[in-house]
Amino acid sequence: MPTTIITGRDITLTIDSDSYVAQATSATLTVDSTINTYQTLDGKAYYTTDTQGSLAVELLADWGAASSLCEALWTAATNAPQTGLGVVLVADTGASFAFDVQPILPSAGGTAPDAQTVSLAFTCVTTPVLTIS
């Protein structure tokens, strides 16, 4: 059986129903677990008390463009800062993660010679749900 690899070319990402594929250079969902450790008479015992997801997205800035994703994020974060945005991250066909993130304001500007980029670190407000098909 050949080794399976999936790459960034297999990823699709939508935030608030907007596709970020044409702008994003990176999208990573991370879920950290808080694990308590107890020393018992029988050795160590572990208990997971909490999980917290985060979504890191790197994208090429598109301020001023038609249907700008940066502007859409800015509008969402200023007009409805307490309303979660629905995210669907497909790592590869058949492995889809759905969750909500708290809106955040994208950065603007950059260094002189380079393309302007935006680094976004979203906090997940719902636990990511994996759908396998």
Binding site: R9, D10, L13, V21, Q23, T25, D114, A115
Partner: protein, 126 residues
């Protein structure tokens, strides 16, 4: 958004048309100086964006500015003026890099003083 990389090169060539030099969207058989020649850089095409349903590429070009090499000071001055003009008309959506050290190049019977300017842009398949 462009339908082909040829269209991207032609759009860049059109933007350069006002600099008062011959503009070539690809390497010509003969160069009439002063001239701007758009040639692929290395790497030429880079996959930088997520997703594979459509082709999204970073395209790297070199714009070679060339002037007739008749005398050192005159040719260098002409080359510097041409480079400044090129920088002045670079269209939006291009990352403009460095201008490399001038070099003397022979093309056919012509001796040219040339300098390379690295530029890049992004292409999204329609």
């Amino acid at each position: 958004m462009s339908s082909s990389i040829l269209e991207v090169r032609n759009e860049l060539a059109t933007a350069l048309a006002s600099v008062g030099a011959s503009v070539y969207g690809s390497v010509p058989e003969a160069v009439i100086p002063p001239a701007c020649v758009i040639v692929p850089d290395a790497p030429y095409l880079e996959s930088r964006l997520i997703g594979g349903a459509t082709v999204n590429l970073k395209i790297n070009f070199i714009i070679t500015a060339a002037v007739a090499y008749n005398s050192n000071p005159g040719a260098l001055d002409n080359l510097e003026q041409l480079v400044i003009q090129i920088l002045g008309v670079m269209p939006n959506g291009y990352v403009v890099g460095d201008v490399q050290r001038p070099a003397i190049t022979s093309v056919g019977a012509s001796t040219l003083l040339t300098a390379d300017l690295s530029v890049s842009t992004y292409y999204n398949q329609d």
